[in-house]
Amino acid sequence: MKLHEKILMHYLSCTSPVDKEGYLYKKKERTATYHRRWFVLKANLLFYQERPADRHLLGVIVLEGCSVRRSESDGQFAFSLVFEGPGLRTYRFSAGDYQTLESWLKALLSASHCYLSSLLTDLQRQYEEAKQQQRSGELHHSSSVGTFKQSQFFLPVQGSSAVVREGRSLSTGPVLNAPLGSSKVVTKKSPKLWHRRNAHVTPLNGPAPLYGEWPLVGFDPLEEFSKLHDYYGQEVKRTREEWLRSRQAEEERSGGDLINLG
């Protein structure tokens, strides 16, 4: 199969953001040797070359259909990308230290197109809910013209298929005390999408156009997200505790953003 490499290289060199880059050791297939390579993660593509300044790209790994796993049997800071299926391979890596390992694991776990797609679907739902609440809040006021803008009104989701399963939330599951030291920890299969009809995506400006279908790859969001959240549960718990502590201080201030989105 021909992969039009120039298109990939062009994408790599264009001004869209690089999601992560750095040195990792990559294990040569079928041998015990590791080579140090410079990796660049952009979208769902993991490029690698010998050195950052190199013009010659050694290769690329398309990150769809793989799970990201720590593989301690290979070493203290080792991890692998496991492609599931007959004849498909496993890419093995080693980071130099714990921080590098954790940072790459996190970045790779959220790299796939499928992941982004399901995340986007969820955020879309949250956005619609937030707008609904804002609208119902406004309707309780006396008819003031300014705030209720028809142009921002979302087209209702058509079709009968249950796109968003109410009552199931994608929030963090119970926090498990699963330290990174355990052997079969971070597994995430590339999530499959549930069927969507007339999904809406709002462009940066303007009203929401009718949306086409997302490509269908089988998916159970709860299964995959709960695994993901088990892993992140620790961090979230910490973050929430900090937030609760800082909230008291914040209550004095008016309109201060708790989260700086830049």
């Binding site: 199969m1 869209s16 290769g59 398309v62 391979r89 970045a107 986007l120 949250q126 804002q134």
Partner: protein, 158 residues
Amino acid sequence: MRFNEKELVSLSRQPSEKAAELGMRGPKKGDVVKKRLVKLVVNFLFYFRTDEEEPIGALLLEQCRVEKEDSQTFSIAFLDEAEKKYLFECDSEEQCGEWIDCIIKASYEFMRKNLIFYRTEIHRLTGKDPLEQYGISDETRFQVSNGLQLMTRDTSSL
């Protein structure tokens, strides 16, 4: 450049909502229209000879321009080479429009921008960062200022 071919071929066999036989023409002078099974999976456009298991090729749908050429034909241009277009002939205007829509929205960069939009808006409306519950609020790929990052690499000698 090496790539995970088997895995990509396996990806091309995943079920897709957008797969159809279209007339496809390459960008080079002298390329003619050929009937191909065109299939959209994630941000790749795979194209097969009809009834063949393995795709002939895969086109990454990033940094490309999709345009309507006439009522039933659309084109995709890559590498900022506006003249070098892949042409796709559809059976109807409706089908053509749907393909254009789907291809644009399949782009990872397009999705990223929308995610950032939703994130910002939800925060504005609710005061909460929706990515916090997933523990990914500090991931580079979801940062609000992301679109302004400039990363240029000279790969002209490749």
